[in-house]
C-alpha cells in the first residue's frame, strides 16, 4: 500500500475545509492573545494550497508539497506563511520526486514538517507556539508499527496544544503579554493539532483498508 499524489491532494482538500470551518474559532482564540487573524491566515493559506495542488497535472509528491508551500506563502505572508511554507518544503524532501511513497514512511512527513517549522521560527518547545503541537507529534513517532505511531502522534499533538494554555508566551506577538498570555491556548498550536489529526485520520484509514498494523 502506498501513499499517492491523489491522497496528498485529498489531504490538502481536507486541510482547506477544516481551516475554513474553524476560521472564526481560531480568530477568537487569537483575539485573546494576539491580533485575531490566525483563522483567516490558515483558511486563506490552505485554500490557496489546495487550489495550487489541484491544478497540478502529472506530478510527484514533492511537486505537490512545493506548490502548496508557494501558494500558502503568497496568499498569506504573516507568520504562518513562512512557517507552513517551510514545513511543506521540508515535507516535500521526505516525500521525494516520486508519485507515491510507502505508507509506512508517511509519519516522516510529520517529523519533517516539525523540523521545518522549528528551523524557520527558531522557537523552542514550551514557548507557546505551533511548535508545541508539532514537536511532540514528531517526537511520538518511533520505529512503528505504523498505526501505533500515528495514534501516538495525534494524541501528542492534542495534548501539546492543550498544554499551551498554561504556558507563558516567549516568542511571537503574544510574548509581549508575559503573564497575561497564560490561561489561553495558543491558536497556532490548536490549528496545528487539528491539521495533524486530519493527516493521522487519513493514514489510519488507508492502513486499516489494507490491514497494515
Amino acid at each position: 500500500m502506498s501513499y499517492q499524489t491523489q491522497h496528498l491532494a485529498a489531504l490538502f482538500q481536507g486541510f482547506a475545509s477544516l481551516m475554513t470551518r474553524e476560521r472564526d474559532t481560531l480568530c477568537r482564540m487569537d483575539g485573546m492573545i494576539g491580533d485575531a487573524d490566525h483563522g483567516i491566515a490558515m483558511a486563506q493559506g490552505m485554500v490557496a494550497a489546495q487550489v495550487a495542488v489541484a491544478a497540478l497535472g502529472d506530478c510527484t509528491l514533492q511537486d505537490q508539497f512545493n506548490a502548496a508551500a508557494k501558494a500558502f506563502l503568497n496568499a498569506v505572508g504573516a507568520s504562518s506563511g513562512p512557517l507552513y511554507a517551510t514545513a511543506f518544503l521540508w515535507a516535500g524532501k521526505v516525500a521525494g520526486q516520486r508519485a507515491q511513497m510507502p505508507l509506512t514512511e508517511t509519519p516522516q512527513i510529520i517529523v519533517a514538517m516539525a523540523e521545518g517549522i522549528a528551523h524557520r521560527g527558531k522557537a523552542q518547545p514550551g514557548q507557546k507556539t505551533m511548535l508545541d503541537a508539532w514537536a511532540p507529534a514528531a517526537a511520538a513517532i518511533g520505529a512503528g508499527p505504523l498505526r501505533a505511531d500515528i495514534a501516538a502522534a495525534r494524541l501528542a499533538a492534542q495534548s501539546g496544544a492543550l498544554a499551551t494554555t498554561d504556558m507563558i508566551a516567549a516568542i511571537g506577538r503574544a510574548a509581549l503579554l508575559g503573564e497575561r498570555s497564560r490561561g489561553h491556548p495558543d491558536p497556532g498550536a490548536t490549528s496545528a493539532a487539528m491539521l495533524i489529526s486530519v493527516f493521522c485520520d487519513q493514514i489510519e484509514r488507508l492502513a486499516q483498508a489494507k490491514d497494515i498494523p
Binding site: A36, D37, I40, G77
Partner: protein, 332 residues
Amino acid sequence: MTQTQKLINNGYDAVDEMLQGVMAAHAAHLLRPSPRAIVARHGPRPGKVALVIGGGSGHEPTFLGFVGRGLADAAAIGNVFASPPPQPIMDAAMAANGGAGVLFMYGNYAGDVMNFDMATEMLEMEGIEARTVLTTDDVASSPDRGRRRGVAGNVFIFKAAGAAADLGLPLDEVERLARHANARTYTMGVALSACSLPQTRRPNFDLPVGEMEIGMGIHGEKGIRRAALRPANEVVDEIMDRLLAEMQAMRGDRVAVLVNSLGSTPLMELYILNARIAERLQSSGLQTHLTLVGPYCTALEMTGASITLMHLDDSLQPLIDHPCDCAMFRQG
C-alpha cells in the same frame, strides 16, 4: 453576535480594492509594479539607497501613504494585520533599487521579520545588498527596547531615514541614522474600543464600555493594564509620565510630537490631548519643534490615540525638516 458595520464589498477583497482606489487617486505619486507593491514615481533614482517599508494593511496611511520622494521609495502591502509575503517585498525592492543598496524598515513583529528575511535572502541571490532596521518605539510593549513593537513612531523614524537616503548618503550612513532615529522615538497608546477585521467583522477583543486599555498595540494586542476611562488630561499625564521618563531629556531639548488617532478618534479629541501634551512639554522645559496631529498610523476603526515623542538632536532635526512629497503626507 452581530457583525460590525463596514463599507466594504467582500472582506477578502478589501486590501486589493483599497489599492485600486489608492492608485486611482494618487497615480501622480505612485506606481504599482505588482499587485501588492507600491513604488514612488519620483523617489527611486540611480545611486540612491532604496528605502523599502511595509507591513500589514489596516494601518493606513501607514505604510503606503508614506511612499514618495523624500520618504520611502516603496512599500510592500500585506493582508490586514499580516506581514506581506516575500514576493511583494522583493517586487518593491527591485522596483526601488538604485544600485546603492536597499534598506528595509518595518515594525518589529515576528511575521514581518520572517518574510522580510526571506526577501533579503532572495535579493542576495540577485546580488543586491539589503539591510534591515526594525522599529521598536512602543514603550508599553516591553521593558526591553529590542523586543518592543513598532507603532506610530514609524512616521518619524521612516521620515528621518527617507530624508537621509534622499540626501544621497551611503547605505551605512542611512542605516546608522535610521537606528539613531528609532532609538530616540517613544510611543504609547490607549484604546477605548476594539477594531474588527473585514473578513470577520467581529470585534477582535472585548473592551467593556467605560474602560480603556493602556498601552494597546496597533493590532489590538493587550497593553499594560485595563482601567476605567478617565478625563483626557489624566490619560495624557499617564502616557507623558512614561514617555518623559524613558526619554530622559534635558531642559531645552527639542522634540517632535505626533498625536495619532487609532482610527475612530476624531481630531477634536486629538487636539484636546495635544493641549495637555503642550503644557506638559513646556513644564518639562522642552521645545516643541514640530507637531503632527491626525490619523497617521491606525488600527482599522479602533477608538483611541497614541502619543509619540521623537527626541531631536542636530542630526535628526534636519532630517525631520527635509521636504517630502507623498500621496498622504507632504512637508516643505
